[in-house]
Amino acid sequence: MSGPRAVTLYVALLTAYPREVRDEYGDDMVQLFADRYRDERPGGNLLRFARFWGGIVGDLVRTALTERTESVVANFKQQWWKWAIGLVAALEPVLVFGAGVGVSASLLVSAVPMVALVLGLGLLRSRPRLAAGLLVFGLLPAVVAGIVYFWFPPMYLVTLFGIYLSVRVLMEAGRLTRSLAPA
């Protein structure tokens, strides 16, 4: 395999890494790969070729897995509230059903805030203000759960959590709106 083709293959393999790693170190990694390929010349000998590519692929699999895991954990730490909103959306039919309005009515009533939550999450980056409105509206069933189920104190926690998520959404929308505003 020629040097340029090997480099092209390595560039393709780099997609195994998260984008932030590729953006920061991708060029350096390609340069290092090209330097090694030039100096070790693994193309002429099958054993050397296998050892070289075995080392490269082994390094890539091991470190890409680590980087991907770190990226997912860091992303979850930053964006956990989005997953929490998804959980609230999934549980809203249960909350509404518990109010005793029947299965069909529960699904119907909870469908509107569920759609609002899904739409809100989808629009958060491009239309932060609209998204915040949709999300706060979608969180209403959780916010009022403590009032509807006043006889069941654990639901007060759901209300507090709904209020917390609403405030978090409004803060995030404010931050995104400022970052989108022309300087």
Binding site: M29, L32, G58, D59
Partner: protein, 126 residues
């Protein structure tokens, strides 16, 4: 004194083999990634070969921990590619490297006191 300089080196110990070799490679001057990789191979007698992922993953973590930093000092443009990034030890990195070497030295002393053979003896040797 910055936060990184005031930090205790003990919190960074023990270092991984890759991290300690990278710090050791940078102990005598600024180097770019490929030069670090080559020096690590030399320092370890070829037992530690770092691929691009291991090298830059370690550098990323060490930059985050304040052990190394990028340097603007460039070699003569005639001699090297200006696109390469050069790294050097920070004050904290030097102290962490020193503490790691002291830790390893203490281990070696304990091993010597316990008469641990540093290399496997050839078969039949007394």
């Amino acid at each position: 004194m910055s936060g990184a300089q005031a930090q205790s080196p003990d919190g960074h110990l023990p270092l991984t083999p890759a991290a300690s070799h990278i710090l050791l490679a940078l102990a005598d001057g600024d180097k770019h990634g490929y030069a670090i990789m080559r020096e690590v191979e030399d320092l370890s007698d070829g037992t530690l070969t770092m691929g691009p992922g291991t090298l830059y993953g370690s550098i990323k973590r060490m930059l985050g921990a304040g052990l190394v930093e990028e340097t603007e000092n460039r070699p003569d443009p005639e001699l090297d590619d200006q696109r390469r990034r050069y790294y050097r030890l920070t004050g904290l990195g030097e102290r962490v490297l020193g503490a790691e070497m002291a830790r390893l030295e203490a281990m070696v002393k304990v091993a010597a006191a316990k008469r641990v053979a540093f290399r496997p003896r050839p078969e039949g040797a007394q």
